[in-house]
Amino acid sequence: MTVTRDLVVEMSGLNKWYGEHHALRDVSLGLAAGEKIVLCGPSGSGKSTLIRCINGLEAFHEGDLIVCGTRLDGTQDSLTAVRRKAGMVFQNFNLFPHLTVLENLTLGAVYARGEPQDRAIERAHGLLARVQLTSQTLKFPGQLSGGQRQRVAIARALMLEPEVMLFDEPTSALDPEMVHEVLDVMEELAVSGQAMIVVTHEMGFARSVADLVVFMDQGEIVEAARPEIFFDAPATARAKAFVGQISHAT
């Protein structure tokens, strides 16, 4: 079913359990077109679970979730519809090691969307230029550095022409000197008006890019605020402790 509102992601009262462990508790959140949400919180707070629910990699038990106009109701049709409009970038890149960089990009377009090969290749070249990997087209992922791999993964997700981009700790598996090249690409993307939800510990990125910082702990949203307010004057004790710890570390 189609919902005509300005929200690309809209969830209300989302609940999820792993066995008896209550992993997501009454999570309600909306992402407006063109805006950016940064999800943060200690590990085990449910932020990765939440972002994986948005494109159906994890199922949820209660609540409503509408992504890019499609209600995720557990059917294969709704999953497919959502996944073709929501791009996902993983912590471990998850590039296909047996395919070249170019094939990694075109595979989804050609087989899932039925796009003609030559047009997919043309778009792929455009996106690889955008993430500054023009010369790596015919290499295999194993021949690239971590930063390059993650930029390929971003380009691969962009091939969907997504209405929303989901980033699940995109810089956590990278060596420190490669973090900035990935963040640069993400910032460029944000400036271009791409709606996105980013799970990250990079608070500098959150400060400069986020429209809204959402702080989660123990499966629930504790606080949501504009970045300057969240970082400089967090309202709750838990957020205060968290901000204190990460600003100490960086």
Partner: protein, 374 residues
């Protein structure tokens, strides 16, 4: 406290150069591999001497004292000290073609030539995988048509007369062509989330792995017809072939399943996130990686399948080994069984080694292309 540390490090810069002379080349090899210690040196000498003596005996028996040509039913062989290779010259038609009618054996020769030629062409990997597979399918069909006859003026020959190397190739080709896809389906089915599918696959795999191939072939060839309605007659060769296929598939399925488990979960998730459906994910992402991982183990099973073709002789179908055994029944030549079997041994060795080499070359190729990206 501000005393200088006693630990130190000296900055230095020198251009790269080769290691010292005795760390490379033949001398280094001798020292590190053959004469590492006095004891190792003694073993090197002892084993080397043993090897040379053994080699000398083999060469003397098989070449120097051997008889290559012996007319009059092998008269020259009876006084020979070495091998009597004349038995091969005398019996090679039976060994290669079994009981196949003598005047039609050129058809078998053509089949062998086809298999060897296409095998060699495939091994170069100059052609695409699709072309190679299509070629194999064609070779397979031509093999059956040539053996069967009845077309283009070829005399029809019953399957009970098929034999020798063409039959071995046919059984082997059919086992792989039918068994590998079945193995993949069984492996996928065993990981299915549908309990009925999973149970069926587990039962098939475990059931077949629990019985000996010989029992399975006996059942398929001799006992199964007793339960089938008389108007439903399936050729013994086909029934036994189906047994071979199922047997191969049950073992290979477990190998393939190991490969499926070795592909990281993230690969499937990334493919899902691109909107790819189940079978596309399997075909394009999971299976190519899983099969590449299990190439060594899979070739183990494939080579074993080639050798398992010898079981067909128990059903009265003469594969190469069965045909050799039959050929050596001849009272004039029965004494030279060693030479006959050595010849077949060599034949199997060459074919199996070729497959083994092909397997390792695929493995090397995969390794060169795909360095695992976490």
């Amino acid at each position: 406290m501000n005393t200088a540390p006693r630990s130190f490090a000296l900055p230095a810069s020198s251009p790269p150069r080769l290691p010292p002379a005795d760390a490379r080349g033949l001398r280094a090899f001798l020292r590190t591999h053959l004469f590492q210690s006095p004891l190792a040196g003694v073993f090197t000498f002892l084993l080397g001497a043993l090897l040379i003596i053994a080699l000398w005996h083999v060469v003397r028996w098989s070449v120097i004292d051997a008889v290559w040509y012996a007319p009059d039913n092998g008269a020259a062989c009876r006084t020979a000290l070495g091998a009597c290779w004349a038995v091969i010259a005398e019996k090679y038609r039976v060994i290669f073609f079994g009981a196949y009618p003598y005047d039609e054996q050129w058809r078998g020769g053509l089949i062998i030539a086809l298999w060897v030629a296409w095998g060699a062409i495939s091994a170069t990997r100059l052609l695409s995988v699709g072309t190679r597979l299509a070629g194999w399918a064609l070779v397979f069909v031509v093999t059956i048509l040539l053996l069967k006859g009845g077309l283009f003026g070829l005399a029809p020959v019953g399957t009970d007369l098929w034999g020798g190397l063409p039959l071995t190739f046919l059984i082997f080709g059919g086992t792989i062509a039918g068994g590998l896809p079945l193995a993949i389906l069984l492996a996928i089915g065993r990981r299915s989330e549908l309990p009925v599918v999973r149970l069926l696959c587990v039962a098939t795999i475990e059931g077949v792995r629990g019985i000996p191939l010989l029992a399975l072939l006996f059942f398929a060839a001799l006992i199964l017809p007793l339960f089938l309605p008389p108007q439903l007659t399936v050729d013994k060769l086909i029934r036994a072939e189906i047994g071979m296929i199922i047997f191969f598939a049950a073992y290979a399925a477990e190998v393939v399943r190991g490969g499926l488990q070795a592909v990281p979960e993230g690969q499937d998730e990334a493919a899902k996130a691109l909107g790819l459906g189940y079978w596309l994910r399997m075909r394009k992402i999971i299976l190519p990686q899983a099969l590449a991982i299990v190439v060594p183990a899979l070739f183990n099973d494939i080579i074993r399948a080639f050798k398992n073709t010898t079981f067909f002789s128990i059903l009265g179908l003469f594969d190469v080994l069965g045909a050799t055994k039959a050929a050596l029944q001849d009272p004039n030549w029965v004494r030279y069984g060693t030479e006959g079997y050595l010849f077949v041994f060599l034949l199997y060795f060459i074919i199996c080694s070729a497959m083994s080499l092909y397997g390792s070359s695929i493995e090397r190729d995969n390794k060169r292309r795909v360095r695992r990206a976490t």
